[in-house]
Structures are given as structure tokens and as C-alpha cells.
């Protein structure tokens, strides 16, 4: 087995080494850049690498640390999904329409990391405007899963997930509107956290579906997720939906274990369409939870079946409105026309890819006169029913468990011809977005093909400390250390 290098360690391990003076941020950053040099040509996780900036930031982080700065994110090299605006650094959203867009401001999540001394390795590839479950909807080509380069990394934050899995970043930011952090985390064998809606400011998260969009984290451990969340969370005057951060240290209770915790296994998440290897791995983890002293029982989310339908009306409806801003006037692509309307329509046809057009059309239709009540209106009512399902489930259980996605990584090209089949990848992750509750995906093992399986834990609104505690306990018990095949072949 190839030796683990600095770029393969967790941020917690690296933080300890930095504090002890054993390594510098410059050395960690060089290790990541070397790994990028070794594998990026095959993985294609990055759209805009920022190596020079990373070296400069690492040098500054080392100076700050010498001066006594002890922030857990200082000097740790990170990757940021390309739907998060970064001042002076090209931000494309994986779209031709923003191919040369350079934001004049930072999103709040990155602004906070940057102010704390974080190091930016680059902007990661993603499905166009975060619409997709395989990263194949990027206008700049697909990302390849480090576990098997012929398979997808999941999406939409596929580049962030693959970068963390391959050691091309220590941790990363992504966004999760219907599963876009958790599903790629599952397919790439890393930890993916979607916090409570509003816990992390959406300012500078280029909007897809505003009532569902969240900023989430990709890490190699649950403890790292707690640290990265703490660094980005909290009220922001620039986002009226942002929530006060009542907790400052998300890792404080993380060693509390699961003894006595009531854990509900979601019945609907083990039905047809779920691969046997996924079911077996998640079931085995549930048995571990019982052996660890958790009180495990079955729980039903009876309206889960309707969540996918509601999501594919609500998200496209909001998207059709949000994406109206790409009109060829203030930023992005322009294709000329005789008048403004023709210019806009030509610009949008040339600049958007097939999936984005599909969702704009779907949303425009669902919101149009005569159809609004039957589609968007009804979907909003289903959203109420989903929230009630969770309220009932959390009356009996502290944390819910299910697979993160029905399948492990699928082959590139396998589902591109069938939008509905692709949408089914998110069937277990979408309900948490509709209800605003936090959820996390951790690796539970490998399937028979040697691909990682993700297990999802879900907790009530703002119960991140409990969620992270349960996830950490299970993570320790599973002790998932297998590394992507790609890395085993290095040197």
C-alpha cells in the first residue's frame, strides 16, 4: 500500500502537526499540489486551480501561526465548489454562460474561511448550476470517480467530493439542494454534511433553488466536518434566511457515543431499486449501532414517495426564476440580436446546457397561468406533509438512518439519456432539503464491486451536535480506511 502523505491526512491530524510545529502549511500545500499534479489529469476535479494563490496563502498562514493564531482551519488547504463566488477568481457554475465570470465579491462561507487563514487550492467542477447527480452536466466535461475512473463521482458537487477522496484537497465546500453534497460524498467514500437550512449563509452561493440551497462540507472524518462547519456557520446580515449559530463548537459532544440514543431505520429506504450491496452494507452498520447500545427501531416516512415529485416541481420553479438573471446584460455570455428580447433568448439558448434548459422549462411551465395550483401549489402542500412526517418520526427517534443513495457509483454515460432515472439518485436525500433538517453521509463500507456505500443519518432542525455525535461513533466503529484504487497505484 502506498504511503499516506500529508495530503491524505485529516484536517484534525494536520492541525495537531501544525500546532506541534512538525509541519508547515507550506509543506501540506505542496503535498496537495503534488497530488494534483499526479492525478488531476485523470480525475478532472478542478475547473480553476489556484496553486500560486495557495502557496501565498500557506506562507501567510505559517506566519500567522508563528504569531500565535490557532484557528483549526488556518493553513489547511481547501477546495471550493464553483457555484460559490470567490472575489477575483473565475466562478463558472459549470456553465458556458458564466465561462469568464469573475465575481467582484466573496461568498460568506469562503470569506469566513479565508479570514481564518484557509488556503484555496482551486474551484471545483460541478453539474451546471448544481443541477445534476453525476457531474456529467458540467459544460466543461465530467469528473472521474477516483475509486473507478470509468464511473461518475456523483453530483452536483462531484469535483469537491473527488478532490477530497483523491487527496487533491484536505477538505472542501460544496452545496446541497437535493443531495448534491451527500450523494457525491457517498459515491466517493468521504463524509458529506448538509447542515440545517440557514445555518450557513447563502450569500454568494449562486442561487439554484433558494428555499432548498445549503452550503455543505466534504471531509475525511466527521470530526473534520464539525470543525469546518463551525468555521463557516452563523448569522450573516447579507442573508435574511441565515440563522443564529447557537452552537460554537460542534465537536464538543462528538465523543458522547450512541448508548441510549433512539435510532430509527427508515423503512421506505430499503425497498425496490436499492442495490443489494447498498442494503447489506447499511443493514450491517445498523446492527453495529444496536451492538453499540443504541435503541434501534423501524420508522416510516409515509410521504417519502412524493418527495421526489414535489422536489422536481419546487426546485425547477425556483430555478426558472433565479436563472432569469442570465440575460446577457450585466455579466456572462451575450449573443447579439435585433432587440433586447431576441438577444436574451439567443444568449440563454447558447449559454445553458440541456439539463438547465429542461429545468427552466419545467419550472416555467409549473408556474405558468392555469398550471400553478396543480403543480407548484400542490408541491408546496406535499412539502408540509414531508415536514410533518419528520416531526412524527423525531417524536419517537433522535436520529434516522437510511442509505444515502440507492446505488453506488454508476458508469459515465449510463443514465444521461433518462432524466427520470438520474433524478432517482436523490430519492433518499431530497426529503431533508424539503424539511430543512440536517443530514450527513458517511462511508459504511464497499459493495461487491469495491465501490463505496454511503449511509445517511438525519436529525431534527439545528440538532447538528447530536447528528455529528452519532455519525462519529458509527464512523469509529466502521473504521473505513480503504483508499481509492487510483491512489494505490501511485508510485
Amino acid at each position: 500500500m502506498a504511503a499516506r502523505e500529508l495530503c491524505d491526512l485529516t484536517a484534525t491530524e494536520l492541525g495537531a502537526k501544525l500546532r506541534a510545529g512538525d509541519v508547515s502549511s507550506a509543506e501540506i500545500t505542496e503535498s496537495c499540489l503534488r497530488r494534483i499534479g499526479d492525478v488531476e489529469e485523470r480525475v478532472k476535479a478542478y475547473l480553476t486551480p489556484t496553486g500560486d494563490l495557495a502557496r501565498e496563502q500557506a506562507g501567510r498562514a505559517d506566519e500567522r501561526r508563528a504569531g500565535g493564531d490557532a484557528s483549526p482551519v488556518a493553513g489547511i488547504p481547501a477546495a471550493v465548489k464553483d457555484v460559490l463566488a470567490t472575489k477575483g477568481i473565475r466562478t463558472t457554475c459549470g456553465s458556458k454562460i458564466l465561462e469568464s465570470y469573475v465575481p467582484p465579491y466573496d461568498c460568506t462561507a469562503w470569506a469566513r474561511l479565508s479570514a481564518a487563514g484557509s488556503v484555496l487550492l482551486g474551484k471545483t467542477n460541478c453539474d451546471e448550476f448544481a443541477m445534476g447527480s453525476s457531474n456529467e452536466n458540467s459544460a466543461f466535461g465530467p469528473v472521474h470517480n477516483p475509486w473507478n475512473l470509468d464511473t461518475v463521482p456523483g453530483g452536483s458537487s462531484g469535483g469537491s467530493a473527488a478532490a477530497v477522496a483523491a487527496g487533491e484537497a484536505v477538505w472542501a465546500l460544496g452545496t446541497d439542494t437535493g443531495g448534491s453534497v451527500r450523494q457525491p460524498a457517498a459515491l466517493c467514500g468521504v463524509v458529506g454534511l448538509k447542515p440545517t437550512y440557514g445555518l450557513v449563509s447563502r450569500y454568494g452561493l449562486i442561487a439554484f433553488a433558494s428555499s432548498l440551497d445549503t452550503v455543505g462540507t466534504f471531509t475525511r472524518s466527521v470530526r473534520d466536518a464539525a470543525k469546518l462547519l463551525a468555521a463557516v456557520a452563523g448569522k450573516d446580515p447579507m442573508d435574511a434566511t441565515s440563522l443564529d449559530q447557537t452552537v460554537r463548537d460542534y465537536a464538543a459532544d462528538i465523543d458522547g457515543g450512541v448508548t441510549g440514543l433512539r435510532i430509527g431505520v427508515v423503512t421506505e429506504a430499503f425497498g425496490e431499486g436499492v442495490q443489494p450491496g447498498v442494503k447489506a452494507s447499511v443493514r450491517a452498520a445498523v446492527d453495529r449501532l444496536a451492538n453499540m447500545g443504541a435503541r434501534v427501531g423501524e420508522v416510516s416516512l409515509p410521504h417519502a414517495d412524493y418527495a421526489l415529485s414535489a422536489y422536481y416541481l419546487i426546485a425547477p420553479s425556483e430555478a426558472s426564476s433565479n436563472l432569469a438573471r442570465y440575460d446577457g446584460v450585466r455579466y456572462g455570455l451575450r449573443v447579439d440580436g435585433r432587440d433586447s428580447v431576441e438577444m436574451m433568448a439567443r444568449t440563454r439558448d447558447a449559454g445553458f446546457g440541456p439539463e438547465v434548459k429542461r429545468r427552466i422549462m419545467l419550472g416555467t411551465y409549473a408556474l405558468s397561468a392555469g398550471y400553478y395550483e396543480a403543480y407548484y401549489g400542490q408541491a408546496q402542500k406535499v412539502r408540509t406533509l414531508i415536514i410533518r412526517d419528520y416531526e412524527a418520526a423525531f417524536a419517537d427517534f433522535d436520529v434516522l438512518v437510511s442509505p444515502t443513495s440507492p446505488t453506488t457509483a454508476f458508469r459515465i454515460g449510463e443514465r444521461t439519456g433518462d432524466p427520470l432515472a438520474m433524478y432517482l439518485s436523490d430519492v433518499f436525500t431530497i426529503p431533508a432539503n424539503l424539511a430543512g433538517v440536517p443530514a450527513i453521509s458517511i462511508p459504511s463500507g464497499l459493495d461487491e464491486a469495491g465501490l463505496p456505500v454511503g449511509l445517511q443519518l438525519t436529525a431534527p432542525v439545528l440538532a447538528e451536535p447530536l447528528l455529528l455525535r452519532a455519525a462519529h461513533a458509527l464512523e469509529q466503529e466502521i473504521a473505513f480506511v480503504t483508499r481509492p484504487r487510483l491512489l494505490e497505484a501511485l508510485r
Binding site: 465570470y101 469573475v102 467582484p104 465579491y105 440545517t196 437550512y197 440557514g198 428555499s211 435574511a240 434566511t241 440563522l243 414517495d305 412524493y306 415529485s309 416541481l313 440575460d327 446584460v329 450585466r330 455579466y331 456572462g332 451575450r334 440580436g337 435585433r338 432587440d339 433586447s340 431576441e342 438577444m343 436574451m344 433568448a345 440563454r348 439558448d349 440541456p354 434548459k357 429542461r358 427552466i360 422549462m361 419545467l362 416555467t364 411551465y365 409549473a366 405558468s368 396543480a374 403543480y375 400542490q378 408541491a379 408546496q380 402542500k381 406535499v382 412539502r383 408540509t384 406533509l385 415536514i387 432524466p419 427520470l420 433524478y423 424539503l434 424539511a435 430543512g436 433538517v437 432542525v461
Partner: protein, 96 residues
């Protein structure tokens, strides 16, 4: 039952200058997706209130204090076309 869509009308509303091929494909795809999505009508009864935001917030106010905003040159830096410190666009209204 597959849903019939006036694709030209929707494309016009969405300001998308779709090709005929795109229209044909979208007409077929949206019909299938909407048929599936119409399931929301099966369960959502009239006594269920709609939810727009899972964590509702109303009237979020802040003190009305002036603060610096984006500099004009920064705001125009990404514009496809600018003139006299303004965004330049093709004609909006026809001139006789």
C-alpha cells in the same frame, strides 16, 4: 397520462430561443417528468397548508444604516458591453 405542453409558449415565457430539435426533445421529456410530478396531486388535500420555506422567517429587519456598495467599475467589469459607466443593451422599444 402524458402531459401535453405548448412548448412554444413556455419557451417564450422562459426567453429561450430553442431549436426545433430541442423543442421536440423537451416536449417528450417534460411530458414524462410532469406525469411523474403530477403525483403531488394524489396526497395534498385542500386542508393542508402550503410550505414555501421549511424554517419560516418573516420581516427580517436590520438597522437602516448606509454602507458602501459595489464600486461602479467593479459592477461593470463583467458586462458584455458598457458605455458611459452604464450597461449597454440592444434597443428595447422600436423607434418609428
Amino acid at each position: 397520462m402524458p402531459v401535453e405542453i405548448d412548448i412554444d409558449h413556455v419557451a417564450r415565457l422562459a426567453r429561450l430561443d430553442l431549436s426545433d430539435d430541442e423543442k421536440d426533445r423537451l416536449r417528450a421529456e417534460l411530458a414524462v417528468i410532469l406525469e411523474h410530478a403530477a403525483k403531488v396531486g394524489e396526497v395534498a388535500a385542500s386542508d393542508v397548508p402550503p410550505t414555501a420555506y421549511a424554517i419560516p422567517r418573516a420581516n427580517v429587519l436590520r438597522p437602516d444604516e448606509p454602507s458602501p456598495s459595489l464600486a461602479r467599475e467593479d459592477a461593470l467589469a463583467n458586462a458584455p458591453e458598457a458605455e458611459d459607466q452604464r450597461f449597454r443593451v440592444p434597443p428595447i422599444v422600436e423607434v418609428e
